[in-house]
Symmetry: C2
Subunit: 319 residues, 2 copies
DNA sequence: TTGAAAGCGCTAACAG
DNA sequence: CTGTTAGCGCTTTCAA
């Protein structure tokens, strides 16, 4: 900048202002300075600015990213969430720092102005670790769980309720919920589901499920068919589980949806292109990402931000 | 640091060295300083270090991230790639800066020590834009296309050849290739496929395909069935296209695989759980991510790095 | 093994 | 509208 200043015949601070499009500098001067900068291939030093301004214009996004395909956070969700976050944040001058939460975070992550945690999942400890960084924090997950944190999540209770209503409308009376309620979002889906059914004196079966995978869903349903085969509707807490469930049902000669109605969750392309195409509860991850981004930004800039619940809706397909 | 220095009764530079585990400092002093730092909740300022050291310990990952589910870069690929990259980079002290390549990149991205471009796709212009940042660059995509760049990609030619061999072993003689060869990686898959077939005097049909989606695959096959229905094998350049193709085939009463063998590409969970489970060419995105990360790191540290091709293998399932 | 001096490149505050 | 001064927090000389 000092060099540019000499070349352009102004002071360094004027160069600084000109490059920032400050209104404090004459339009003509500004143009000249910018031209000189361009000609000389000037590269701005963001670290110097950050040091001076005491901020990094950076938001850390913490993802649980195990190398396992069928995991809960796999599939398109986190990527869409990331897409929304990145879109919103970069368009307001922030950068997105991706972190895997394994071992101590690299220093640049600790220097982030804010943090977005994707999926508190079964990892309440992850939340604690991240909170200890002492940065503005926004979490994607089950909203009701954490009053002290800003949490964005989709309306899992409503999602569950929608499925219950659908089953009731179809005249189904022996429903099953498939999913481990230790997972906060799953617990909410079950709550909405069970509460609505309770209004009609119906209590869903909740067989144990050992995971989030297609095969976990299939196993659970196979076991259930052994012990309590008399069900006519199944609500799976994820499309993956639903697909596993359908597979197990078909194996045992149960027709879908004639004998058993099945509805999944997440409305993944996987479910949509499945044969039969899976009915599912849709949540808009892209919007969710944008919202998460806006909330950290608000927090960073000292404004208030509240937890928020995004609408869900039921997408009916063949099952 | 100056404060810590006073408290610990040493100089600032000694604090600096102690916190970095420098061997220049007495073990006892180091322990004391680190303890003081911990007790007082000292937060290291990474920007100051970066300013001083003239680097950012940051790698920008540029992704094409349009808000469309069925896009090429959707699905689990980029996430797995990202997982591998993040894993490798964070474990060596670098941070991963995620960027969407829309409009001018935020300054912190330009300050990255290196850049990984995920998918040159049909966007050769994306590569030009990124190259103009003048940073060490590694690209994920079609290796043969760019001699001047370091490109990591999986062995698309071999993948295509494997499929051809499989079809030949099955005695199929009228194969189709489904995919737009304007896409560099697709072109390589076709090349490997067609070359192998040519050795047996067979030339595959290459109907036009308008996109990367399930529906594009279905459309293309419907049109093909009108004009040239006499094919007995189909190699789709992605699982998405393959699924669309199967759907169209079943619609028109063609059995898979009895009448038409179908093999996809990418070995996605979507394909694996499809009914019928899709045979597909597998590529290991996690390893690829790690490799990409190692190569930028090498480049950043002034070492040489060459383009590299990752092995692919064929996963046979029902189709 | 420790420290003093100096400066990385930028910008807020305060004149002019 | 422009400039001077000072300092953000760290680390690499160089000297003790």
């Amino acid at each position: 900048m000092a060099d540019l200043a000499k070349i352009a015949g102004v002071s360094a601070i004027t160069v600084s202002r000109a490059l920032r499009d400050s209104p404090l500098v004459n339009a003509e001067t500004r143009a000249r300075v910018q031209e000189v900068a361009r000609q000389h291939g000037y590269a701005f030093n963001i670290n110097a600015r950050n040091l001076r301004l005491r901020r990094s214009m950076t938001v850390a996004v913490v993802v649980e990213m195990k190398p396992s395909l069928e995991r809960q956070m796999s599939g398109p969700y986190p990527l869409e969430l990331l897409g929304g976050i990145t879109q919103e944040l970069t368009s307001s001058g922030y950068s997105v720092l991706l972190t895997a939460l394994q071992g101590p975070p690299p220093p640049s992550v600790q220097a982030a102005d804010g943090v977005i945690l994707l999926g508190q999942g079964a990892h309440e400890d992850a939340m604690h670790a991240v909170r200890s960084w002492g940065r503005p924090l926004v979490v994607w997950g089950a909203v009701s769980r954490h009053e002290s944190e800003v949490v964005v999540g989709s309306d899992n209770r409503r999602g569950g309720a929608l499925v219950a209503e659908r089953f009731l409308a179809l005249g189904r009376s022996r429903p099953v919920f498939l999913g481990d309620p230790a997972h906060g979002e799953f617990a909410e889906r079950l709550a909405g589901f069970a509460d609505t059914l309770a209004g009609y004196g119906i209590q869903p079966l909740t067989p144990p499920v050992g995971g989030f995978t297609v095969s976990a869903g299939a196993e659970a349903v196979r076991a259930l068919l052994e012990r309590q085969p008399q069900f006519d509707a199944l609500f799976a807490a994820s499309d993956l589980l639903a697909i596993g469930a359908i597979r197990a049902l078909l194996e045992r000669g149960r027709r879908v949806p004639e004998d058993v109605s099945v509805i999944g969750y997440d409305d993944t392309p996987l479910g949509a292109t499945y044969v039969p195409p899976l009915s599912s509860v849709h949540q808009n991850f892209l919007d969710a990402g944008v919202l998460l981004a806006r909330k950290v930004r608000a927090l960073i800039e000292g404004e208030a931000a509240d937890s928020e619940t995004l609408p869900t809706h039921l997408v009916l397909r063949a099952t």
